[in-house]
Amino acid sequence: MKFGVLVFPGSNCDHDAYWVVSQVAQQPVTLLWHESQELENCDAIIVPGGFAYGDYLRTGAIARFAPVMDAVCKFAKSGGLVIGICNGFQILCESGLLPGALMRNVGLKYVCKPVQVRVENTDTPFTNSCRQGEVLTIPIGHMDGNYFCDQPTLEALKRDQRIVFRYCSSQGEITREANPNGSLENIAGICSEGRNVLGMMPHPERASERELGGTDGVKVFHSMVAALALR
């Protein structure tokens, strides 16, 4: 079982994901340069947070054309596990691996703080270690996390239970106050039809160690490890 973390020019959470996979989840992991054509036999791909290509033009808009993304798209289409965190989520949307788009936060400012998200579906390779409806505390840090999609897409996401995380209160209620960026229906994370691709705005790698204040995020990585072990 090997994880690969993509490195674009401007990625800045690549080393964080690498650290948590290697030191906390204790799995083999390698960094994959944006120009590489193949994924070095990795079993799961992490598209990390940051500002790939400076987020010029539009978040993720340039990164989707990186050579490595061709390989990631092929990998995803053949059922490989891909998780996009923050900027990674934006890149996956731009690449067409996930539907919808992430717009500027309604407050028009960058927001960095711990938020609560409710696990809406535990039947995914990313949440199988969570309880249905479990409230996780995981930090966000973004300027463009305001998820939007058209009505038919939203219907499909709901029908197929592809909304994986929603921003919620500490009691697990989906409220307007708990929504940090104006996302449609408090959406914080969604998965692909095949459930093998997940995009989420919160940073699970930032909530994976006790001394940094919480370990709810590590459940995402443990879930992936468990899912891969079953393959």
């Binding site: 650290w19 960058y110 960095c112 840090g141 001394e211 940094l212 204040g213």
Partner: protein, 784 residues
Amino acid sequence: MSPVLSPAAITPEVVREHGLSPEEYEKIRQLLGREPTITELGIFSVMWSEHCSYKSSRVHLRRLPTRSRHVVQGPGENAGIIDIGDGWACAFKIESHNHPSFIEPFQGAATGVGGILRDIFTMGARPVAVMDSLRFGPITNRTGQSPVPTRSVPPQAEIHKNHSILEGVVSGIASYGNCFGVPNLGGETKFEDCYSRNPLVNAFALGLVRRENIYYAKASGEGNPVIYVGAKTGRDGIHGATMASEEFSETSEAKRPNVQVGDPFLEKLLLEACLEAMETGAVVGIQDMGAAGLTCSTCEMGARGHVGLEIELDRVPQRETGMSPYEIMLSESQERMLLVAAQGREQEVLRVFEKWGLDAVVVGRVINQDTMRVLQHGQVVAEIPNPALTDEAPVYARLMERWEPPVSRDMPEHIRLGEAEDLTPELHQLLASPNICSKRWVHEQYDSMVQVNTVEGPGGGDAGLIRVKGTKRALAMALDGNGRWCYLDPKLGAMHAVAESARNVACSGATPVAATNCLNFGNPEKPEIMWQFAQVIDGITRACEELEVPITGGNVSFYNETLGEAIYPTPVLGVVGILEDVDRAAWPHFREPGRSLLLLRGSEPGDLTDAQAEFGSSEYAQEVLGELWGFPPALELEKEAALQKCLAETIQAGVVESAHDVSEGGLAVTVAECCFRNGVGARLELAGNELPAECRLFGEDASQVVISCDQQQVRRIQQLAEKFGVAADLIGATIAGNLEIMVDGKTVVSAPVTELREAWATALERALHTETEERLVPAVIQKS
């Protein structure tokens, strides 16, 4: 300054426009033995500017203590370095970007962050934390209750201007640091009238490097190639350093083109590429191009190695066509570095930069002469002995004159203290005042968690705390300064700045080990300003010696004046401390009800006369009374040192549940702040000590820390404290939900913690009239 960037001939007028005096020009002619070319004049003007040469401050800065067993590199390099154990060292420094931030707040602040980050990674260290010390003019028009307020009501237009400067500075810092990927651990945000037309933006950065991998900005080895890397050179920022060495006038807005424009994405690439290039072992020396750009790096790297650099400007990557040598040498385009590689190994270096998509060009070579030689089209356009620009730069022992602030030293007669029965409204008002209220609005715009090291981020503890991966250790850091106190007494105020930032570090459980300073002052050509400066240096020197935190570097910012009006003398201290075991970190927040509260106190409280005189420098006097008088609180440095040692020992003994130092707003505000995070209340039973209740609650006596502990530990802590000669008075206990304060048995404060927290948490947003998120969230959200 002339709009013509490359004047044709040197006239007395041109010399003056370059900020050089006739005497200085004469010295240039003597050093060169001829008339300088216009390019050379430009080079001298930036290198001899106050900003680059420290010509007014150097004679005083020599007094600062700079050594200890921890210090690896003191002042004189791009950043100071200390040893933190296990083979790790940490590079850190603070620098001002005041002038550009007033003219263009967003880019001014952003490039301030960019500049200090380059100073850190130039030394081979990966930046792991930044902080900022920010000072603005008033953002509210409150002037207190006084019938004859000392403060005049600032005009609405000025308040709006201050709002926009604050917004611009904060978003500039956020945009740069967030994209670069370095956590911002906070710092301080303060408001005072004197910063209205002269905001202060002091940026601090800290990086980690293995001891054996430290790089220096020193050239060596005749024939070694000189490589230019990073962004292309444009016409931006020409004369930025000279601009920072002048007062502001009505025409300062016209200097906006002198402010550089930052690109944090490019800086991130530059960081990764530089660290990777250093790993090849082919880099001999490296320096960033900050103030004075190519000029400064070319001559300083040569000077440090007693060699020279010869560069050909035709090879310098340029963003625009037709740039003159004058413009290329003086450009302050951002995100550029100059490095010297080992001859024959330049390809290894160039390959790394190519991988990161950055320009990297061999522009010259090291020569065996202590001279900087600049060519264009093969013709020499400037040739100056390095010492002429560095060691021979003018040093002035400027005139000093003792100065008294135009305020009363005694409490004004119309002030009545000790008459109010209920001080709850005053506590409310203080908690909601701009200097004391929560700065969440500021720091939530900063990424405070990237790099997954943040143990305590902004707004949480007294200090920021990051762990050092692969060790048990953590590093604590805090910024502090109090301009108002330095205005009333520059020396004592400066001692407080050192003591307070070190105390903040100590409250996290860490031992303060070193410091960096940013010294913000008015025009040094005025004798009273120079006196303030000398006093501040004396104060910092004494406090740093006593508290054993040597200064490893920093920055001086003079000419913080607009229309002849100077800011308060404002030294800002950044103190770094080492916490041996991250699991032993302490936080300010009360954990649960039923705990005992102790006040650790280094010094004895003063008598009524002292208390009243000192009360005039407090936030209460400023915010509630609208007055300023008297002196800063007294400070006994030996007692402060004892307090900090005592704090370290009690925290390391694991008997302390929370620790928070008493600062702005006094004991009442301190205890309220401890209540907020966990919603735990407190009941204090204080002795009046024959002082007015206001002084007991809101007086800002130095060397005090509130700690909470299990009832069983009170005796043990008191015994420990006694060993250090520190008082540890039992002052109350934590309770559920309410904050109640009694003085001599009479309740003077009683309020639910939630109410106080609300006032404190939302004040800044309310002052800025920002739209609340709630109002902005579209109505598409449905219950599901």
